[in-house]
Amino acid sequence: MNFPILSSITFLPLIGAFFVFLSKSESNQVNKGAIYVSLFTSFANFFLVLFLWYSFDNTSSNFQFVEESVWISGFIKFKFGIDGISILFILLTAFIIPICVISCINSIKNRLKEFLIAILVLETFMIGVFCSLDLVIFYLFFEAGLIPMFLIIGIWGGPRRVYSAFKFFLFTLLGSVLMLIAIISIYWITGTTDVTEIYKIKIPSEFQNLLWLAFFSSFAVKMPMWPVHTWLPDAHVEAPTAGSVILAAILLKMAGYGFLRFSVGMFPLASEYFTPLVFTLSVIAIIYTSLVALMQDDMKKLIAYSSVAHMGYVTLGIFTFNKQGIEGGIIQMFSHGLISAALFLCVGVLYDRAHSRLINNYGGVVNILPKYSFILMIFVLGTLGLPGTSGFVGEFLVLVGAFKVNFLVAILASVGVVLAAAYILWLYKRVIFGKLENNQIKEMKDLNKSEMGVLVSIGILVIFFGFYPEPLFNTVNVSVDNLINNYNMEINKFSVLK
């Protein structure tokens, strides 16, 4: 098949953004043209990605749909290609973006056109991250996402948006520049930045630790791992709903993807060497941020901290280096992408009506918004990992993987499950049940059609993948096997050498 489908799904949103840019903006009025164009592009892209998933070959561990062309002559090729791991994230991205577009049509009041452009441009960059098979191209897309996200937080955010936007931008940039140095060093060590080539050439063991740390500095900030997670709650609280959704659902997953593709794939020895570090940070993240989440009175902040805790499971799972752990980490990322997106959308629903995110201002919502309360219930249960939701599958597998490797770590991580139940159920209790005291809430209306459609579609997926995660496993299975085999081969070779 010669049709460059990966480039198409990557750059289609950019073309869409260009047309939105061209559409006439009547000041202060709803810009129909821009909305239709962005809806069309995002849905078209979603269907393209579904088609891609359909034509993807589950049984091969090679990179598929590979596209190559000369980019920087003599140095770097423009190389796209996907395997079972990347396609899941592309799927997630393409699914989340139309949802963001729908949700922002109602909630963004000023400069809607610019917002849509920012989201579509961001989609291009995010899909580019998951498609690229060249380190420099990866870095390019990875960093480029900062610009639209910075603007989304800064322009459409809440009262402390400037502080949050700057914190987000500078934290992530500082983490990433070290990765750039590492990428250039890899070029001079191996003579290429093509990931598949590097897998074959293998980076000499004496360089691996430093390079791993440089990549880690970038991914740890993006993930975010404790103690560099502090930008995330700020960014989440101030970002508009759609911004939070993208941030939680996709931007954080870029780091997890980076760990799998680059840290584990290219530096197996260093990954093994630094496993205790990652375990420690993950466990701290799980327990500490869950405790912090308990004490929050801002709903978005609470969910943000819970995201940090859930990402702790992901890093824990990835660095167990067994099949259960890694697949669990991937499923956990996928399900967290759905659930946290839905939770932020739910908070956005309340915020659009009552203009408050403080838990204290609510109470007794169930009397006024029964449908909303029911749907929120699904996602709350998904967050705490109730069997039957996709959250359970990921967490369970991660813990199984962790028990195989390190008993203590697994026990400590399990504590996080209990804590998650505590903070999220307490949140649900305080917001949904209790006495109806705030008069503002009494005038609220239940979900409208578009909100209903969006939340129900995510809810169905959460439950579907909770009962039947087989499609996800089928997709990643061979790629994960391949990753683990390569890892074990390297480790064994090295221990024999010793």
Binding site: V70, W71, I72, S73, G74, F75, E114, V136, Y139, L140, F141, E143, A144, L146, I147, F150, L151, G154, I155, R161, V162, A165, F166, F169, L170, L173, L174, V177, L178, L180, I181, I184, S185, Y187, W188
Partner: protein, 471 residues
Amino acid sequence: MINAVYFLIPEIFLSLSIFTFIIFGVFKKNSFDLIYRATIIILPIVIFLILNNNFENVKIFNNSFALDEFSSFMKILILVSSFFVLIMSKKYIQDINNNKFEYPVIMLIAILGMFFMVSSNDLILFYLGLELQSLSLYILASIDRDNLRSSEAGIKYFVLSALSSGLLLYGCSLLYGFTGSTNFQVISNNVGDINIGTIFAMIFILVGLAFKVSAVPFHMWTPDVYEGSPTSVTSFFAIVPKIAGIAVFIRFMYSPFQNILDEWQYILVFISIASMILGAVAAINQKNIKRLIAYSSISHMGYAIAGISTGTESGFKSTIIYILIYSAMNIGFFAFVFLMKRSGKYIEDINELSGISKNHPLAALSLLIVLFSLAGIPPLAGFFAKFYIFMSVIESGMYALAIIGLVTTVVSAFYYIRIVKVMYFDSPKKPFESFKSYGIYGSLIFSCLFLSSFFMYPSIFNGIISKINIF
């Protein structure tokens, strides 16, 4: 000798037009507009003449004047950027009632001086070119002679620059004394056996060169001169002499001092790191947009010098790409500064830009692109400029320089995105005065398109640059 004249056609044409313009300007009243237009037309003609000269690496006048790919490339870069500076600053010059015919003519003289600097293969010719350029720049800095700050800037620039020229000349004479020649090739051959005299000479020359490109610790004049001079002159200062300065820098380091790499490498690394750090840190608190760009240009010179400091071929080539992209970014930046006019006055305070994205969405978007590019965020061209530099720096194993350089990009990103914040996040003020100027809008659009589409094929210049050879 006839042959030599043939090679010099671009320079001769430029000098003849300068004389014609001066005479014409003296005898005809109110000839500013005409001469300005003629100057703008002259520049593409000179580019054409340079491109038309089909030869490879010729040295004329007793090997003192080098005509090679390097000098042609740099000359064309100088001409193109001057062209943009001229077309976008015309409106400004007329608005501040400075429409004297000398202005474009002096710029042409400066360009002629730069031609000789870039092509020089001999200390004397180099010094002549440098002085021709510098004297024109002193006049340009104080061209708004009724304005106190402009005169002050001119005097300041003159005094400090004359001092540095003196040091440079002293270095040149020492170099002549210790190597016995003024020719770069001869010097390069004789400088090999280290003696303390040549190193002294090299350091004096480095001081002079660092001054001309405003690298730390010889940067003190930059913010004041940038702020005091009329913006049209600032835009010229920020772009064109920098190109010539870096070209001469490259020529010196790779030609006469080629064999004493070990001696100058650490000096350049220091200059580069100091410039990057000072440029990044000192700009944080600037309120005046011209002072800010002054510090920004200091830090950019730091990156350019980082490329030279590697002493490798890929090093100076990355510097050439850097200076090219730097020029494109500054053209865009200054085109926007020329738009900042409110109720008849040009404004320079950054806070006055507040909320401009509401009133002028397109202009604000363009400045956004330019600023993120200056900060070196992918996928804009500024990233590739830095990328090439650090490719060569890491190739030479200078990891400390690379790490410091990249960490300072984060610091400098802060002040660039601060302008974005003022434009996009703050509440709107009164809109700018709207006026028609194809020059300004054209330059802005050109710069933005260049910066934002560079990523599609970043090796676009590699073909040309790979041909460049200095040795």
